[in-house]
Subunit: 194 residues, 2 copies
C-alpha cells in the first residue's frame, strides 16, 4: 500500500505540490522521525525547502543526520496549528491545522557550493536577506557541518479549516453552549539586540 | 545506554520533572513517532498531561493509537519555539526552544470514569472550563473513542535560551552585523462564533 495514502479523514488530504510547498515554506521547524535500535526517535529541527527537497543541517556528529542519510526510511512531519475548534459537544472539538508528512531517505549534500546555497536559503527563510547580513561559513565551519536533503516525492499534506462540524442531531444543535474557533497566531516580536 | 541520555549539547538538557511538566502543559500539540512496517511515522496530535502521563485520544480506528498501545516503543516529542537567534556569523545562528522527548509504550485507558476525566482535562487545557461548557461524551461516543496514556518515566527536556553564542574570535566579534534574537509569540486571537 502506498504509504502516503491517507487513512484517517482522507478528505482533508492533498498531494498537491503547491499546497505542500506552501506549508513547508511557512513552517520554521519540522519533526524528524528516524529508527534507532530501541525504536523511533523524533527530534525537532529547523529546515528549509529547496525546490523538491527538504534540507536539514547540523553538526557532522548529529545522530539524526547520520540516521537520515545512512539509515533506513525516515519521516519528516511539519505542522502549523491554526486554531482550536470548540463544538457544542465534547467529542466534536477539534483543531485547525496544516501539516505535511514526507517519507524517504536523505542524501548528504556534498558539494561546497550546494552546501553554501542550502545554508544561505535557511538563513534567508529565518530572516529575509540574512545570508548577506552575516559572515558566510568558512572552510573549517563548512567541514564541521552536514547538510542532508530529503526528497518530497513521497509526501502528503493534510488540512483542517473552518468551524466545528455540524452536531449529530437536533438536540445537540439546540444546546445553549458557545461554538466556534479560537485562532492561534504566531508572530515575531521586537528584535532584541545581543 | 540510557536512551534519555542527551548526546547533542547535553548542557541544554534536564530530567527535572517540573521542567518537563511545564513544557507539556504549555504546548497544545505533540508529535508521536511510532514504528510502521516501512519505517517510522510521525503524526501531530493534541494531548494533555495528567500527572506523570501524556494522554492522547482519537478514534478507535486510529493507526497511531493502535501502534502506541499495542506496538513497540514509541516516541512523543513536544516543542515550543521561542525565538530565532541571529549571530554575526552564519553558523552561529540558532533557535531558542523548549522541548521534551518521551519514550515508552502506551496503555489504553479503559475505565469509563478515567476516560471521561482524560477528555475533560484535554478540553480544559484547550480552553479553561470548557469541559463544563459543552455536552459531555455519551456512551456511544465514548465507545468510539480511544484514550492512550504514555508514561513520562523515560523523558528528558532540552532548552536553549538567551542570545547568540559569543563569536569564535575577535575578528568575528568586530564584524558590523546586527546580532540578537527575534522572539516568536503564539497568541490566541478573538473568538469567531460558528
Amino acid at each position: 500500500m502506498d504509504r502516503t495514502q491517507l487513512r484517517r479523514k482522507p478528505a482533508r488530504g492533498s498531494h498537491d505540490r503547491d499546497v505542500i510547498d506552501r506549508i513547508c515554506d511557512e513552517a520554521l521547524i519540522c519533526h524528524v522521525g528516524f529508527a534507532a535500535p530501541h525504536g523511533p526517535v523524533v527530534i525537532p529541527t529547523t529546515f528549509v525547502r529547496i525546490g523538491p527537497e527538504l534540507h536539514i543541517h547540523g553538526s557532522v556528529g548529529s545522530a539524526m543526520l547520520t540516521a537520515l542519510s545512512e539509515g533506513g526510511s525516515a519521516c519528516i512531519t511539519i505542522t502549523l496549528l491554526d486554531a482550536l475548534v470548540l463544538a457544542k459537544t465534547a467529542l466534536h472539538h477539534s483543531a485547525n491545522y496544516r501539516s505535511v508528512v514526507a517519507f524517504g531517505r536523505g542524501r548528504v549534500v556534498e558539494q561546497r557550493e550546494d552546501k553554501l546555497a542550502s545554508l544561505a536559503a535557511l538563513l534567508d527563510k529565518i530572516d529575509p536577506g540574512r545570508s548577506r547580513a552575516c559572515r558566510p561559513p568558512n572552510d573549517k565551519e563548512l567541514k564541521a557541518t552536514r547538510v542532508v536533503a530529503l526528497p518530497l516525492t513521497e509526501a502528503s499534506a493534510k488540512i483542517r479549516s473552518g468551524g466545528p462540524l455540524a452536531e449529530d442531531n437536533a438536540d445537540d444543535a439546540a444546546l445553549p453552549y458557545w461554538a466556534g474557533i479560537i485562532p492561534l497566531v504566531t508572530s515575531r516580536g521586537e528584535r532584541i539586540p545581543a
